[in-house]
């Protein structure tokens, strides 16, 4: 026989002003099972909780109903109080007399009081079916995986490693560094981007706690927090990186030059290459599409007639440690991790959708990121900004903001956040490179909301003499060797035409190619723009709805370097909170199968969003079986189970039916 204690809260006057609490107490006193009723001005206060503990001990209560506010507010509080008095915390239920009653029926005290009585009755009816539950311990693999080696991923890996935990950093490209490595300078301090990034990249390579897997991609993820099983494909580099010393002879001597992806095709690289001089690791990979020897091998294998391509193999002949490994193949490794940080970063928006700007058609229309490569001392022009069309230095440069941003029709609805500032930066840096440069910046709203950003933006105008024109440009067209930019200065309300030497498009920030695939592997969601979705936009900005998976950097939303670093560190902190534990406490509210009733229909397997249900053979019959580590307790399985053999602890059929059966009686 259960002994239910009912504790009624006045919540100051929040409840008692509307609900006649003593009348509720009288009405529920004689409900079946109720052996104790108490009222308190604030049940959640320490005296209130003490009253609960005392009643449990003194009156031998086996169930506790607290009728106060929303369980989303104080369920944990009262469960803890019960546990302190030795009662299993899952034997506590709440009746929501405040949010669902007194606050919404303030104009009808009688109705509110009657409803309050029913709400308590409902909780009492339900609670006799509550069972003591014990959370299952989840073992924790104390190793983290970071996906993406840009600044956010680097920061996350370094922070996790600094706390003494093992971390594996997986990067798709042959070097880490990401977008930041492509930048010349960073706003608002004008730090040289590689000068501040390279030390961190080197630290990643040297930290004994970090396993760096470049030229590698995550292929599949299974398991759950504490023990994710991740398959990683290490693509063949055709270079034995153990033997290779990174001397550089191969990429210097390789005769096959192709457009450099790192320089956004504004420069060339060899077909055995490192993307840029400060690459980490400083070990080359062979580009199997362009390498002459690979082409030769393919020609031989095809048995085709005609002129054979050259065998080449110059790199192999010149390599001092004989590190070329033509037979190397992709390698798949499976490793186990306790937590995962996703830092897949961003790509620039493709401006070719705007035919009116002629990107891809007029060589002197370039993107902001391409300008970074032209400004960079290690870029294709060694830091001399020259027009791609004729190699002359541009004197009039026009910047176009919001290329793909703030355009619901042909681009993205959102603001890309970094463009206003990098346009200001470009104006300043261009002026430093060549005092004769005049910059014009077409902006819609100049968004300078970070620390020192507004001041920086002023600098672009006052010191670098950039002319800001408020308006979006309609068209760019060539005329007399220049590019005519047609805009409006909407502040004066006149059309503006500028004959420019170069036009720079501030292309929007979009999620990196393949980020959505990573999201699907990890069972995390992405929005309509394919940015990954955080658990709560304000209060849980780096967590996801999948336990143990965290987000860092621009995969969540466009952000600049400082924000990427913050998000990287934040994701690391969340990861460390997990890795600091030997085991995790899981929620016990998971599904459970009554093997005797299970018909083996396996409908539950189909609906389970977490693949937590499998089958097992019990006494010669195939029945469903739940992996409690994977189960989140949604109850989809129990809703489809015809023989009612599978139920979710804490939301059982009996509990819910008892609630229904208590209504209007």
């Amino acid at each position: 026989m259960v002994k239910v204690g009912v504790f009624l809260c006045h919540c100051g006057r929040n409840i008692s002003e509307v609900v006649d609490v003593p009348r509720v107490a009288e009405a529920v006193r004689h409900l079946p099972g109720v052996t104790y009723v108490d009222e308190n001005k604030y049940m959640c206060s320490e005296p209130g909780q003490a009253a609960i503990r005392q009643a449990i001990t003194e009156h031998g209560l086996t169930r506790v109903v607290v009728a106060s506010c929303s369980p989303r507010m104080h369920e944990i509080t009262f469960r803890r109080a019960a546990a302190q008095a030795g009662l299993n915390p899952y034997l506590v239920e709440m009746a929501n007399l405040r949010e669902h009653c007194s606050w919404v029926h303030a104009d009808d005290h009688e109705a509110a009081t009657l409803k309050a009585i029913e709400l308590v009755k409902k909780a009492v009816a339900r609670i006799s079916y509550n069972e003591p539950l014990t959370p299952q311990p989840i073992p924790m693999t104390r190793r983290a995986l970071v996906i993406g080696g840009g600044i956010a991923g680097i920061q996350a890996a370094l922070d996790i490693a600094a706390a003494g935990h093992q971390v594996t950093l997986v990067e798709r490209e042959s070097t880490i560094g990401g977008r930041m490595a492509q930048l010349d300078k960073t706003f608002p301090t004008l730090d040289c981007s590689s000068c501040i990034l390279t030390p961190k990249m080197v630290e990643v390579a040297q930290n004994p706690n970090i396993e760096l897997l470049t030229y590698s991609e995550v292929e599949s993820v299974s398991g759950f927090v504490g023990s994710f099983e991740v398959q990683i494909r290490k693509r063949a580099t055709l270079v034995d990186h153990v033997k290779c010393t990174g001397c550089g002879i191969c990429w210097e001597k390789c005769p096959e030059k192709v457009p450099s992806e790192f320089d956004l095709a504004r420069g060339k690289r060899s077909s055995i290459y490192i993307p840029f001089p400060q690459a980490v690791p400083v070990k080359p990979v062979v580009d199997q599409v362009h390498c002459r020897y690979i082409k030769y091998q393919e020609f031989e294998a095809s048995g085709a007639e005609g002129k054979k391509p050259p065998q080449c193999r110059i790199c192999e002949k010149l390599c001092p440690p004989q590190a070329l490994a033509w037979d190397q193949e992709d390698e798949a490794v499976t490793e186990k991790f306790g937590a995962i940080v996703v830092a897949t970063g961003y790509d620039p928006f493709d401006p070719t959708v705007y035919g009116e700007f002629g990107y891809g058609q007029y060589p002197d229309v370039i993107t902001g990121l391409e300008l970074e490569r032209l400004l960079s001392a290690s870029g294709p022009t060694e830091g001399h900004v020259l027009r791609p069309s004729d190699g002359t230095p541009p004197k009039t440069v026009v910047f176009l903001s919001c290329i793909g941003s703030r355009d619901e029709e042909r681009g993205k609805a959102y603001c890309s956040q970094i463009c206003c500032m990098y346009m200001a930066k470009h104006a300043i840096v261009l002026k430093e490179h060549d005092p004769e440069v005049q910059s014009y910046i077409f902006y819609i709203d100049n968004r300078a909301v970070g620390k020192g950003y507004e001041e920086f933006s002023r600098r672009a105008q006052e010191d670098a003499g950039a002319v800001y024109l408020r308006g979006r440009v309609a068209k760019v067209f060539p005329q007399d060797g220049k590019l005519v930019v047609m805009g409006e200065d909407s502040l004066i309300g006149r059309q503006v035409e500028i004959a420019a030497d170069m036009v720079v498009l501030a292309a929007a920030v979009v999620p990196s190619r393949g980020a959505d695939e990573v999201a699907r592997m990890l069972n995390i969601s992405y929005d309509s723009d394919h940015f990954l979705v955080e658990a709560h936009p304000k209060l849980r900005p780096v967590e996801t709805h999948t336990d143990g998976v965290f987000l860092a950097g621009a995969c969540v939303s466009p952000c600049d370097v400082p924000q990427s670093v913050s998000r990287g560190s934040a994701a690391a902190a969340k990861t460390l909170a997990l890795l600091s534990k030997e085991t995790l406490v899981g929620e016990p509210t998971t599904a459970v199968v009554d093997a005797l009733r299970c018909s083996g229909c396996q409908l539950c397997l189909e609906v389970c969003p977490f693949n937590a249900i499998s089958t097992q053979v019990v006494a010669g019959r195939t029945v469903a079986s739940v992996n409690e580590g994977l189960c989140k307790g949604c109850g989809l399985c129990s809703a489809v189970c015809r023989p009612a053999a599978i139920g979710v602890k804490g939301s059982t059929h009996k509990q819910l039916l008892a609630e229904v059966a208590s209504l209007w009686t």
Binding site: Y354, G355, E356, G358, Q361, K475, F477, P478, Q479, D480
Partner: protein, 277 residues
């Protein structure tokens, strides 16, 4: 296999743009497309119904759509303005309310809405049968109404290619240029000739800078504005049907090439596209 369309020449093609009408009829006849003129057709209203409310704007195009519907044929007008009015009207008349009001104004049922075509769409489907090689650099000028508004246009709004594809198919060399879809001044020739002159001159200048020897158009307003409001020494402006006519071996007289103010004949002779006349 003869294809038939309901043919709506439009007011301009009866007057200043008769060469467009004549060359269209000849070229389509040569290509096996039969043009059945809409009987007793009435003006589409052009841009003059803008700002006169939906009923006035829809009534005139609806009249033509109804006629084509009765003929059971798609409605084709070489005039970009007529085409655009018909296309937009057919979209608006898909709404039952607009249709009911318009039918009340017309005093007649419109019937099943016909599809609306421009000759470019038909030409794009027909394999070229050039007999005379068109060794000439062509700027395809689309103007506004073939590509905009977005609902009525049938190609990219900023860089359409259908006409370039057609002229290339007939052997000419399209040039890439930036003013393919910039407005020529449209129907402002009487009220604001200054606007037309300014806009048309810029279009022709851009075509010239892009290396075009001739500009081809598919709209009588574009032709008139570029031809009449620039200079007689400027780049000649031909209808696409005139250019295709040349490739088919039709004579300048048959194509009425003598009617343009910017005389194209010296160039066409120099290029060997015209042997006589």
């Amino acid at each position: 296999m003869t294809k038939q369309v309901a043919y709506f020449p439009g007011c301009a093609l009866e007057g200043s743009a008769r060469e467009y009408d004549v060359s269209t009829r000849r070229v389509f006849a040569a290509l096996g497309v039969e043009l059945l003129e809409v009987p007793d057709w009435v003006c589409c209203g052009a841009s003059s119904t803008h700002g006169r409310g939906q009923e006035v704007a829809l009534a005139l195009p609806a009249h033509a759509l109804r006629a084509a519907s009765q003929m059971g044929l798609p409605l084709m007008s070489p005039c970009a303005m007529c085409y655009s009015r018909f296309k937009l009207a057919s979209l608006e008349l898909a709404h039952p309310e607009a249709r009911a009001r318009t039918e009340a104004a017309l005093g007649q049922d419109i019937g099943e809405l016909p599809s609306v075509l421009h000759p470019l769409q038909v030409l794009d489907e027909i394999a070229p049968q050039a007999t005379v090689p068109l060794d000439i650099k062509v700027a395809s000028y689309y103007g506004c109404l073939l590509v905009r508004p977005p609902a009525a246009g049938f190609d990219d709004q900023e860089n359409p290619t259908i006409m370039d594809r057609i002229v290339a198919g007939w052997g000419a060399q399209p040039v890439s240029w930036a003013f393919k879809t910039e407005c020529c001044g449209a129907g402002m020739a009487l009220a604001r000739p200054d606007m037309v002159a300014r806009l048309s001159r810029r279009v022709l200048e851009q075509a010239r800078q892009a290396g075009a020897e001739v500009v081809v158009v598919a709209c009588p307003m574009c032709q008139a504005n570029l031809d009449l409001y620039t200079g007689e020494k400027d780049t000649p402006v031909l209808y696409i049907t005139q250019l295709i006519g040349l490739a088919l071996g039709l004579s300048p007289r048959e194509l009425m090439l003598g009617r343009h103010l910017i005389n194209p004949l010296p160039l066409l002779r120099a290029k060997g596209l015209v042997n006589h006349g």
